[in-house]
Structure formats: C-alpha cells, structure tokens
C-alpha cells in the first residue's frame, strides 16, 4: 500500500529541517515520483550553492575604515554652535515643552484617558520600564519590519515587536504625522532615544501586551 506523497516536505528534508526525516526517507525508497523530485531539488540547491561571489575590489576594508573615521564627528557638545546657540534654545524649548506636557497630562486625566497608563506625578511613583524589554525594543526596533501573517502552524518564533507597533505607539505619543516622518527616515533608534520617559513607559507596556498576546 502506497503512502501519501511528500513533495511539499522535500525542501525542509534536504535542509535537514524536517520533523520526520525517517518517514520521508522510507517513502523516497518506494516512490519514484517523490524520489525524482528529491533529486531535482537537491541538484537545484547544489547549483544555487555554486553561484560565485564577485571579486572584492582591493582596498574595500580600507575605504570603509576611512569613511568611518571621516564620519566620526567632533563631539556635538563641544561644537561652538551647540554651546552658544543650541543649548540655550534647548533649555527654553524644554521649559515650553514642560508646560505643554503638564497641560497635556492634566487634560488627559480630566478627560477620558485613551490609555490606562499610570502617569507618574513624582519620581517615587514612576514605574521603571522593564529594562530587558526596553533593551529588546532598542535592539530590535532598529531593523524590524512588519511581520507577515504566520502561514504555518509550525511557526515557532515568539511573537515579537513590529515596526507597526512602534509606529502606533509613536503616533499615540508624538502624533501620526511625526511618526510617519520618522518612519520614513527609518531611524527608529534615534526616535526611541528622543522619547520622554513616560513615552518609553507606554511603549514598554504596549510591547509587553503584544508579547503577552503572542
């Protein structure tokens, strides 16, 4: 009695990633069609493996080293423009933002809050974001792209943070327009570094929810 074909499983089998390699091996001994496909896919993998790399032009690493060194800027805080103009302006801006931020928090508390995030009124009440989770956001957020829908029950990676989630969180904290602009720049790390502690808290909790749901 013949067993069902294993054509769909051959790709993982030749990669050594099959869940039941013995069953497939047994089937291949008795099924010419699957055995032929197995041979074709193995040959195909061999051909792709044999693709040759282009020659690396001499001086590649030196050019990178030179660029890296040229890119290394004078520390920002030592540049005259920063010390004379930016710092005083930043202090003024920070004062304005403090006032606006306080007003915002008060309004959020008075009106129905959109998020159930406790807002610290003093350092003692502040909840520290989970450092591990935050590290994860910072680490992975730089390169993350939205996940596709899982298309297999064997998907085993834990649920993870996506750019969509970050953008949603950013939109909630800095407005959609700002979030879109930053997304275009794809410099999420820089964004995260500019967020206020309360915003980081929100991000952290959103990520935790996402994680838990996953």
């Amino acid at each position: 009695m013949s067993t069902p074909h294993v054509l769909d499983e051959l790709s993982a089998y030749i990669d050594g990633e099959s869940h039941d390699p013995q069953r497939i091996a047994r089937h291949l001994q008795s099924c010419p069609e699957c055995a032929r496909r197995h041979m074709e896919l193995s040959k195909l993998a061999g051909h792709v493996h044999a693709l040759r790399a282009p020659e690396v032009l001499p001086g590649f690493s030196e050019r990178i080293a030179a660029r890296v060194q040229a890119d290394t800027p004078t520390p920002l805080w030592r540049q005259p423009f920063v010390t004379q103009r930016v710092v005083p302006t930043a202090w003024a801006l920070a004062a304005v933002l403090c006032i606006v931020g306080t007003a915002y928090v008060v309004i959020q508390q008075v009106e129905a809050p959109l998020r159930d995030v406790p807002i610290a009124t003093s350092p003692a009440e502040a909840i520290d974001p989970d450092p591990e989770l935050l590290a994860h956001i910072l680490e992975r957020g730089i390169w993350e792209t939205p996940f596709e829908e899982a298309d297999s029950e064997e998907d085993t990676m834990p649920a993870d943070l996506s750019v969509d989630l970050l953008i949603d969180a950013l939109a909630a904290t800095v407005g959609e327009e700002g979030a879109e602009a930053w997304y275009e720049e794809e410099d999420l790390l820089a964004i995260l570094e500019t967020l206020a502690e309360a915003d980081v808290q929100i991000l952290s909790e959103l990520a935790q929810d996402h994680w838990d749901e996953g």
Binding site: E17, L44, R67, D155, T156
Partner: protein, 188 residues
C-alpha cells in the same frame, strides 16, 4: 568561522580598536557583497551598499551584544539596505543594474576555458531563473543555499518566523524548478 572569535573582535572594536573592526570587514566582505550583488544585480551598487552595511555596524557597534550569530546581524542590515535601495531605485524610475551574467567573473581556481564557459552558462541559467523570484524568495534561497544559514538564523535575518522561512524556501525552490524546466535548461 568562530562566533566567539567574532564577538571577541567586536568587543575589541567597541573599545576603539579599528584594526579589529577591519579584521571583521575582511572576514565578511565577500559574503555581504555577494548577498547584495544577488539582490541588486550590479557589482558597483552591491559594493556601495555593502560598504554602508559595515558603516552601519560600526555606528551601532556599542549596542551589539553577543546574543546571535554575527553574520545574522550583518545579513539583517544588508537585507534592509538592499530593500531600501531597490525601493529608492523604483521611486526614481531607475531599473536595477545590468544583468549579472554581464559581470566579470569571479573567484577561484584556474579552469579550462570550456569548463569556465560551462560554469558561466549554468550560473546564467540559475540567475535568470532566480530573477523571476520575489526579493524575499531570492533572499531566503541565498541565505540557505549559498550561506548555509539554518532556518532559525534565516528567520532572524528576515524578521519573520521559522515556519515562514520553511514555506518561502519550499515555494522559491518549486518556482525555480518550474522556471528552469520551462526555460528548457537541462540542469535538473
């Protein structure tokens, strides 16, 4: 290549040792350029993007922690930069680079002209078939069959799940197989 050694070099580079960073570049320049080359179809573009990959690594050096294979970090960056590059080219209306088979070859030992011609012919067939694949399918195939990454590592690079890697690979190979058969290439 020893992972421990890679991360030891990174630790030294994090301390400002540029020589250690250059050792890493030399170690990985070939696979990174190759990856970019297969994605972008142009040797010049591949080298430019590969340079950018290493510059990004340097920029984020202090944030790297030895939690994964270093090559997955590199290919993850390379993937993003290649996709950005392709998107930018499409926006500007510039197609991708010249066909790969027009590129000067390549590495390796001295071969007889007939052998070399045969290899080039096979390579051109495979590349033509690979060009019909989506970017994701081409990447997954490269990372598995050329670089030998396992599914877990590819999932890290592609920022997707292991099951997605498995299904993408199966689809990519099947499409490649059918394209080769349709093209009448006698390679299988």
């Amino acid at each position: 290549m020893s992972e421990i050694e890679d991360w030891a070099l990174i630790a030294r580079a994090q301390g400002g040792d540029m020589d250690a960073f250059q050792v890493l570049i030399v170690r990985y320049q070939r696979p990174v350029i190759h990856f970019c080359y297969r994605m972008l179809r142009s040797e010049q573009d591949a080298e430019d993007v590969a340079q950018e990959v290493f510059i990004r690594v340097y920029r984020y050096l202090k944030r790297l922690t030895p939690q994964a294979k270093f090559s997955t970090v590199l290919f993850g960056i390379a993937r993003n930069l290649c996709l950005n590059f392709v998107r930018d080219m499409n926006r500007r209306g510039r197609g991708m680079g010249q066909p790969l088979d027009a590129q000067p070859a390549l590495e390796s030992n001295v071969r007889l002209p007939s052998q070399e011609a045969h290899l080039k012919e096979i390579e051109a067939c495979i590349q033509a078939a690979m060009d019909s694949l989506s970017d994701d399918h081409r990447m997954v195939l490269f990372l598995r069959d050329v670089e030998g990454l396992d599914y877990e590592e590819i999932a890290r690079v592609m920022k997707c799940r292991k099951g997605t890697v498995k299904s993408r690979l199966a689809r990519a190979r099947e499409q490649l197989r059918q394209t080769l058969i349709q093209n009448g290439d006698d390679l299988l």
